[in-house]
């Protein structure tokens, strides 16, 4: 009897492992998925700007936690991002053959962007926002790859991520991808205007706005029903604002106000953008005015939502002595550099 139990348990463990293995088999695209397309380098650069690639991948100015970068075109990585799951060390995506992505084919690149799978079937962690990039068109991705290939190749070996269990089990990302990755390109909404659709594409695809501006659930997935309704700052102590057209959000901003903010960094009250949004706004300022207007029109078209993360009570200090209540969603670990 006792023995039979052990056998049953062993069988269960084996069956579980097989199921885990099968579920997490990297789902990659075949070469036949790529359309025939003559790369457009200028559009590739435009996607690079719209996608704010440099904001994570460019070499930080001094310490790894610094958000200032030396040169937006030197994508040798090295930034560190503290999260509740551990520390992510941002990889080198310069065209260096050994330490960067110089050996990647266009198909490799597209599998990373649309499937979250690196060459050799490596599951990539979703700190790299392929959950948004998967919505980009093949043409835009091919152009982007072509542009990245023209940037300086820099040898820089970035240390591996330092994640806690179970997040350090890379293969487990495959399960997560079952929920959040389908590789489907953005489809315009036939009921929306061309302008709103263009804005939606830029915001949901390259711009990956929802990645910061939406709350996440306990496994780190964006909560779709609260998308764009704000979140805790994953890297700081404040909150990332609600950008839906509600009372809590930016309902009192006109579309022109939003586009003006993208262009200048000035809010309607003429406060000036800061934090992680500052370099993103620098990029938005480089887009075509029509694209800034399209993004604004898209934001105005969103369902108005209350703040996903309620503002602290006036007596905020009462709910804990630390900065953000220590809740896993936004806790950055120990405060750095104060001791």
């Amino acid at each position: 009897m006792n023995r039979a139990w052990w056998w049953a348990l062993l069988a269960l463990a084996i069956a579980g492992s097989i199921v885990f293995y099968l579920l997490t088999i990297p789902k990659t695209l075949p070469a036949s998925a790529l359309p025939a397309h003559k790369p457009d380098l200028a559009n590739g650069e435009y996607m690079f700007i719209a996608g704010s690639c440099a904001e994570c991948h460019a070499v930080p100015v001094d310490k790894c936690k610094s958000t200032r970068v030396r040169d937006k075109h030197v994508l040798a990585g090295g930034r560190c991002i503290k999260t509740p799951y551990g520390i992510f060390n941002v990889p080198n995506i310069s065209p260096d053959k050994e330490t960067g992505i110089g050996k990647w084919t266009t198909l490799d690149f597209i599998n990373a962007m649309k499937r979250g799978i690196g060459p050799g079937g490596t599951h990539l962690y979703p700190a790299f926002p392929y959950t948004s990039y998967q919505r980009m068109t093949y043409e835009d991705l091919i152009d982007l790859k072509t542009y990245l290939d023209t940037l300086p190749a820099v040898k820089n070996e970035v240390p591996p991520h330092q994640l806690t269990f179970p997040y350090n089990v890379r293969r487990g990302v495959g399960l997560w991808q079952l929920l959040y990755v389908d590789g489907k390109t953005f489809k315009p909404d036939p009921k929306a205007s061309e302008e709103v659709n263009r804005g939606a594409y830029l915001a949901k695809g390259p711009g990956h706005c929802a990645e910061c501006h939406s709350p996440r659930n306990f496994i780190g997935g964006v909560i779709a029903s609260e998308a764009f309704a704000g979140a805790r700052n994953p890297e700081g102590k404040g909150r990332i604002p609600n950008i839906t057209p509600s009372h809590d959000g930016i309902g009192d901003w006109t579309a022109d106000d939003i586009a003006y903010f993208f262009e200048t960094g000035n809010t309607p009250e003429f406060d000036v953008v800061g934090g992680l949004m500052a370099p993103v706004q620098d990029n938005l300022a480089k887009l075509k005015p029509a694209d800034r207007a399209a993004l604004a029109a898209f934001l105005k078209s969103l369902p108005p939502r209350p703040d996903a993360v309620p503002k602290k009570n006036k007596s905020g200090r009462d709910n804990g002595h630390d900065d953000d209540g220590g809740d896993a969603e936004g806790d950055t670990g120990q405060p750095d550099g104060t001791e």
Binding site: G236, G265, A278, R317
Partner: protein, 166 residues
């Protein structure tokens, strides 16, 4: 005699140490309030007035624009003296400020890179002076100078401000 002199000196040094060490929590709270008031009550309305003229919400008025920029110009020198240790966000001062809206938005990085922080404040002084004199040369020149000043605001907000509410 010598002993007496020593005692007086010691007492004096003691008092000096006591007074320097005793930056009380109230003083820290006062520093946070004073610098936030400088931003909210002096810089913000002036920037808004200038910005509205640039954006075309209000008609351009050279004299008013120059006055607003001069008001901003008067802030940086005082502002950088209002950052005693303990006034970072979540620091000693904040533990005495019940209303989160009034708490410090200063990132601890300010004290790690105080020279850089001060240098940006001095850039603001320079940029606001330029914007004030640009106002006399018409809206176009003022607009360019105002935008340059905005870049300085942004540089500081990017690295050193922890925006808590909006």
């Amino acid at each position: 005699m010598q002993k007496l002199l020593m005692m007086i000196v010691c007492a004096g040094v003691g008092v000096a140490i006591c007074t320097t060490a005793a930056i009380s929590a109230e003083d820290l709270v006062a520093a946070v309030k004073e610098r936030r008031d400088l931003m909210k009550k002096t810089v913000a309305p002036a920037a808004k007035l200038g910005g509205q003229m640039v954006k075309g919400v209000k008609p351009f008025d050279a004299a008013k624009a120059a006055k607003a920029m001069n008001e901003i110009n008067g802030v940086p020198d005082k502002y950088v003296t209002l950052f005693p240790k303990g006034t970072e966000h979540g620091g000693i001062a904040d533990s005495q400020i019940p209303d989160t809206d009034d708490q410090s938005e200063a990132k601890p990085e300010i004290w790690e890179n105080f020279d850089d922080f001060k240098a940006i404040a001095m850039k603001l002084k320079d940029a606001s002076a330029k914007a004030a004199s640009a106002a006399e040369q018409g809206k176009g020149t003022f607009t360019a100078a105002f935008k340059d000043m905005t870049k300085v605001c942004k540089e500081c907000h990017e690295s050193y401000r922890e925006k808590l509410e909006h």
